[in-house]
Structure formats: C-alpha cells, structure tokens
C-alpha cells in the first residue's frame, strides 16, 4: 500500500526527470557468448510501480537480460542496480532477498514437492531469510503462512491441486505455480519470462486479470512476452530488443506506431 502512495505522490517528478523514480537501472550491459553478442549497450530504467514489457524476436537476448538481473549470468561490462543496490556480482539468493523474484521461461519448480510445499518454500524464505537453522519447527504448522499460501494458489487457480506433486502438472499449470511462488514473496520487482507461453487462451486471460490485479497493489514488473494481446493489455511502457540492442522504447501507442519496430519485429507477427 505504501508503495502505491509513494508512486502516486511522486508521479509528477518522475515525468520531469525521466529516470528519477526508477527502481531498476540496467546500465550499459554487454554480454557475449563465445563471440555471439547476446546483449550490447543495453540501457534500461524501470520505474517504480510500472509494468515494463520487453518484446523482441526469438534470440534477441530478452532472457539473457533477465539472467543478468538475477545473478545467473555476470555481464561482461556494465551493471544493474536495484533501488540503489548494485546487483551485479551478487549471488542469486541475495538478489531475491532484496525483493526481486523471477518466473522462468521454462517452468522451474520443485518437482518432488507438492504444490502447496512449492509455494511454502519461497514464503519461508521471504519470512526467515536466506538461512535459518530451525530443525524442530514443524513445517506447515504455522496456519497463517499456510493460509496465505493457499490463498495465493487460489488466486492463480490451483486451489484444487494442493497435494499434487508438481512433477505431475501440465506445463501451463507449472507456470501458474511458478507465478504463485513469485507472488507469495510480495516482491518489489517481479520478473516474468513469457508467463503465458503454452497456456490456453482462457488461462492466458485469467493470468492477465491476475497480473492487472497485482498492478493495483503497486508491484513493479518486467514482463517478457510474445503475445501482443498480453503486452498491450498490461504494459505501461515497452522496450523492444533486437539483436541484443534496445531499438525502441515508449508507451504501447508509441511502439505500435514506430516504423523501426514494425520492421524488426511486429511486421512478421500481427498489427
């Protein structure tokens, strides 16, 4: 709640000075894999509370950019800062503890744990920090935490599968589970890598509704998405990545009408 108020009161200043109110700064990031420039000169500022979409053709470097943000990859040059903290060089768990959660492109869950356990683990991590030695505290005995986990699972539509093993779920359900794993941490920044890929239209719409709801809560989101329907329903601003470079940035309207974007990306899809 406090977050919403802040961004509301400071909104005018934000408009005056472009990046003043941004929480995530990606500064001049380069990353190459054996000579392949996956990212070059990438500068990006994500404002507090906004939903920032990153679009671009396959292999443009979108996932690589998120990997640099969460500490999976070290950039060759440049840095990423989140709310004044330099993320570059930090371990993934440290970055998460700062309030950055990530939903992966290929669903990453705990296959041998139940759906409820999958969500309880990030909830415990959020509450107890990166390490707590409590070998005698019964898992699941704290009803408040469990109720919250169940409520989160309900919000993504998985309430009927609490005791199912995650490995037995469909790809679309795993995605929703991963979304719940991110949401239960109430992250300040949620990074979503194609959260609706592989979902049926109906589920995609449900996910859009859910993400819109969270937006009202003031959570900052970066979303990579191929589905233009999703992008234009959710995004406040869009960055277009092609060949590892940001070729355009702006509001959905601006991007729709940008000839460079049409050529590089939108041309071969729809519009």
């Amino acid at each position: 709640m406090a977050v919403t108020e802040t961004s509301a009161t400071e909104a005018p200043r934000e408009f005056q000075s472009g990046v003043a109110n941004s929480v995530l700064h990606i500064n001049d990031v380069h990353k190459s894999f054996a000579g392949l420039h996956a990212l070059s000169d990438v500068d990006l500022a994500v404002r507090e509370g906004e939903t920032h979409a990153i679009i671009g053709p396959n292999g443009a470097g979108k996932s690589t950019l998120l990997n640099v943000c969460v500490g999976r990859l070290k950039p060759d040059r440049g840095s990423v800062t989140f709310d004044g903290e330099i993320l570059t060089g930090k371990e993934p768990h440290e970055i998460n503890q700062l309030g950055v959660a990530r939903v992966f492109q290929t669903p990453e869950v705990f296959p041998d744990l139940t759906v409820l356990e999958n969500v309880m683990v990030p909830a415990l991590s959020k509450r107890d920090g990166h390490f707590t030695l409590n070998p005698f505290k019964r898992f699941g005995a704290e009803t408040r935490l469990r109720d919250e986990a169940e409520a989160t699972l309900k919000s993504v539509g998985l309430q009927g599968q609490l005791t199912a093993l995650a490995s037995s779920m469909s790809r679309g359900d795993k995605r929703r589970l991963e979304l719940a794993m991110g949401l239960i941490q109430h992250p300040r920044l949620l990074l979503l890598d194609e959260p609706t890929a592989g979902m049926a239209r109906h589920d995609t719409n449900a996910t859009i509704d859910l993400l819109k709801q969270i937006k009202e809560g003031g959570m900052t989101k970066v979303i990579i998405e191929h589905d233009m329907h999703v992008v234009f329903s959710l995004a406040d601003r869009i960055s277009v990545l092609a060949g590892g470079r940001i070729i355009a940035q702006g509001t959905p309207e601006e991007i729709k009408n940008n000839p460079k974007v049409k050529e590089a990306y939108l041309g071969d899809e729809e519009v």
Binding site: V70, D112, P135
Partner: protein
Amino acid sequence: MFSQSRNDWLLFIGFSIAVLCAPILMEPFGGNYPDLLQKLAIFGLFAIGFNILFGLTGYLSFGHAAFIGVGSYVSIWSFKLLTMNAIPAVLFSVIIAGVFAFLIGYVSLRRSGIYFSILTLAFAQMCYSLAYSVLTPITNGETGLQLRALRTNPDLGLLDADIRVLDQALGIQETSVPTPNFFGLQTSGYEGFYFCAVILIVGFFIAQKITNSNFGMMLKAIKSNQNRLNYTGIHARPYLLAAFVISGMYAGLAGSLMAVTDPIAGAERMQWTASGEVVLMTILGGVGTLVGPVLGAGIIKYAEQKVSSWNEGIISDFFSFLPAGLQDFTASFVSLFVGEGWHLTLGLLFMVIVIFLPGGMMEGFRRIVGLFKRPNDNDTVSNSATAQPAE
C-alpha cells in the same frame, strides 16, 4: 496433510516398540544375541544420520566412516583420560565428530554431484591413512587404541597406561582393566544393547523432527531443484553444511557406541568400504524414508553375520537331499557366495534392488499395500480420509 503429527507419533511408538522388542523379534531368525543386536542398533543409527544428508539433500557422501572412526577414538580417549562412564564419551564423540564434519563438509560442499562424493572419499581416506601414520601417538596405529590399567609407573605413556582423572577424583576403585559403564550398569551384553537401543530411539525421534521441519523441507527442496532454490532466496550451502554436520554427528555417535560396547578402536572402521556399506544400507531400505535406513542396516548386518559364518560344510549339508554329484556341484557353487564370499552376495543383492526396486524395501512394502488397495480404490480413499480424524 499437515495434521500428520498423530501419524508421526504412531510411527515413533511403533518404531520404539520394535527396537525394544528386537531380542524377541530376532529370536526366530537365530539373531537374538547381544553382539548382533548391538550392531543392528549402532548401524541403524549410522544409517538414520546418513539419510539426513543423502536421503533429504541427495548429496552422496563416501566418507562418513571417517566420523565413525573419530567417534570411536574420542570415546576410548574419554575412557582413558576421564572416566569409564559412557555418557561423557558419547557427548565428546558427538561434538568432536561434529567439528570434523564441519571442516570436511565446509571444503567438500564447494562442489556438488560426483565431485562432492570424491572429495568426501578423499578426506576419509586421508583420515584413514593418517590414523596409521602421523597420528599413531593418538590412534596406536595397527594395534588399535585400547584401555589399560591405571598408571602406576610414571614413565609409561598414555597409550600404555590410563589416568581416568574423573574416576580417580571420585575415588572409584579399580582392580584390573575396567569396562565402560552407564552409572554402574555395564554397557556390554544385553545391557549394552538396551543402552544403544535407547539412543537409537532418541536418534530416530530427532531425525523425525528434522525431516518434518521447515529445515527438512529446505533440504528436500535442495534435492528437488537446488538451482530454483537459489532464485527463491535460499542459500543452499549453509543448509547443506548443517545437514552434513548433523549426519556426521550421528556417525560419531555410532562410532562412540561401538567403543562403548566393545572398548577398542581401530582405523579399519574408517575404511572406504565402511562408507560404502552405509550407502548400501540406505538404498536397500529406502532412500529418504525414516524407517528404511534402519531396516537396511539391520538386514545387511544380520546377513553379514549369518552368511559370512556359513562354510562349505554347512552348505553341503543343506543340499544333502540332492544326488551326490549335483550336491557337490551346487554346494561348491553356492559356497562362492558365503563365508569370505559374502561381499559377492551383498553386491548381487544391491544390484537386484537398484534395478528392480530403486525405492528400496519401503517402496516394496508400499507396492504390496497398493496391491491390496487397488480393487476398491474409491472406498479406501474415502475410508481412510474419514477414519483418520476419528482415531
């Protein structure tokens, strides 16, 4: 699913009763003698602890026998220097094994998978060879560390004469070389078994708590998807180190009980075969289950005692119903697998389990129970759902 604490208690009580009744249960199998019963309890404890690391986190250590050795040596030293009472021996063994586990774990856990296993193996082999070389003033080398009479001649070293300062201060009289005791109760024979049995039950209780705790869930999450866990804000390494130290302490405890029930310590306990054996026990019984490792330990130790005591004569008698020529052939073939050939049997058993029943005996039981449940699936599900809260 979370209101299982009643089921946990039932499991615990059932386990305790089975352990305390082990002499009766082993009677029909010809296994009711203290030496074997003690072994069952001690290796059961070792396997329970090993399972906290291997079963929960999936990290396979090939060096846990080193902590058995540490536990044994520390206990004997406690007997030599302080008192014949088993309690300080057990406590010191657990603590010092924990310190060793911390150091070895700290280094080995820099790597995962096969590299972790190899590092633990290397450390254990180092401990083993150190015990025979540089550390002989502490381990007494190949002779093994033994209890001695109290020092009367001040020229004698501590390997050849004991001091037992606590017992001396308390004015406890010693005639010849004393035996370990638990406040006057001896810790060999059946008393020794019950001493170990009570500790096994406590060890089981603690392992059960750990398995069902928040901490235990993190260990299971490490096994399931360690990479994901990192991005969930959990630092896996301290969890792994804690699990490594806890399982090392269980191993130290087991080593200590070996010394308590039979006060001599030798480095052969640290050999890699002993580390490998506990892996077999855990897999045979059922990795990641609470009861499985104890079951596996029991079966392997029982079979070892029985099978390795058979010789060609016994086998030949057993096959006496066959025609003479066939009897000789069968007997000489089977005798390959008994006596000295016990490890051959063990290897075969292990292969059969891993290929046909990778979840171990516990999975076997579950399958058997499943066979009986299958026909009226809906009934049993609703029955058990309603029956459980009523209990």
